[in-house]
């Protein structure tokens, strides 16, 4: 399941629904990311997330399919928010279900690295001292390189 939307994400509710759809899987891993409250240039007032549909969705679908090829995964859910949001709000939720806990962990980890460095989004942080576009950090690229996958977009 994939949803890219300006609607708020309720991670707890998303997990409840995912548990229903993943019944019998045995192991469920979730990741939720919140808008950080603090930027280098001060307190974050808003975060703006831009997508390029349907390229954004197509790319994430490819990553989901690749995760299903690489690991023995029963279910995957990716929710990603776009538009304007406030500090502390959930920007991304990923859930994976598998018979094997390592597969569930690795697939979730892989999907997050994809979302951070390859998914077609642009982020702008608004602080009291102005707006700033945020691009992936060197660390994010190092994390993503662990999977040594070909570029999918």
């Amino acid at each position: 399941m994939l949803r890219v939307s300006a609607d708020p994400i309720d991670a707890s509710e998303a997990l409840k629904q995912f548990e229903q759809s993943a019944k019998g899987a045995g192991a469920i891993v979730t990741f939720s990311g919140q808008v950080r409250p603090q930027a280098n240039s001060g307190k974050v007032e808003t975060l703006h997330l831009q997508a390029y549909s349907p390229m954004t969705e197509t790319g994430i679908e490819s990553a989901i399919n690749e995760a299903k090829i690489r690991w023995s995964i029963d279910q995957i859910c990716v929710l990603h928010r776009i538009g304007d949001m406030a500090a502390g709000e959930t920007i991304v939720f990923v859930a994976t279900a598998s018979q094997h806990r390592r597969a569930a962990f690795e697939a979730a980890d892989f999907l997050m690295d994809y979302l951070k460095t390859e998914a077609v989004f642009w982020k702008k942080e608004g602080t009291a001292s102005g707006d700033q576009w945020i691009e992936p950090r060197a660390d994010d690229y190092v994390d993503a390189a662990r999977w040594a996958k070909k570029e999918t977009i």
Binding site: G33, Q50, I91, L115, E118, F121, P136, D140, I153
Partner: protein, 82 residues
């Protein structure tokens, strides 16, 4: 007329996120379009930065790719969500 999109930090330079544009017929490739638009916006190289990728009709292409058949051309600085 083609739709041109400027994502992320590029829209701060171009002043718009998208526009409809008549591209002169001598601008045949993505690379030539980069240069032409960079001049037009006085972007001083912002559009030439190799980390800025170009998508024709939602497909990433190289600078040498011909642009004649494209309806929608997007300039994409480094992506990243989450």
């Amino acid at each position: 007329m083609r739709k041109i999109l400027y994502f992320g930090r590029l829209s701060d330079i171009t002043g718009c996120q998208e526009e409809m544009l008549d591209i002169p017929s001598e601008i045949e490739t993505a690379g030539a379009l980069r240069k032409w638009l960079d001049d037009r916006f006085h972007a001083t190289g912002a559009l030439l930065d190799p980390t800025v990728r170009i998508a024709l009709d939602q497909e990433i292409i190289f600078d040498g790719t011909p642009i004649q058949s494209a309806n929608e051309i997007a300039f994409m600085p480094p992506v990243g969500g989450g």
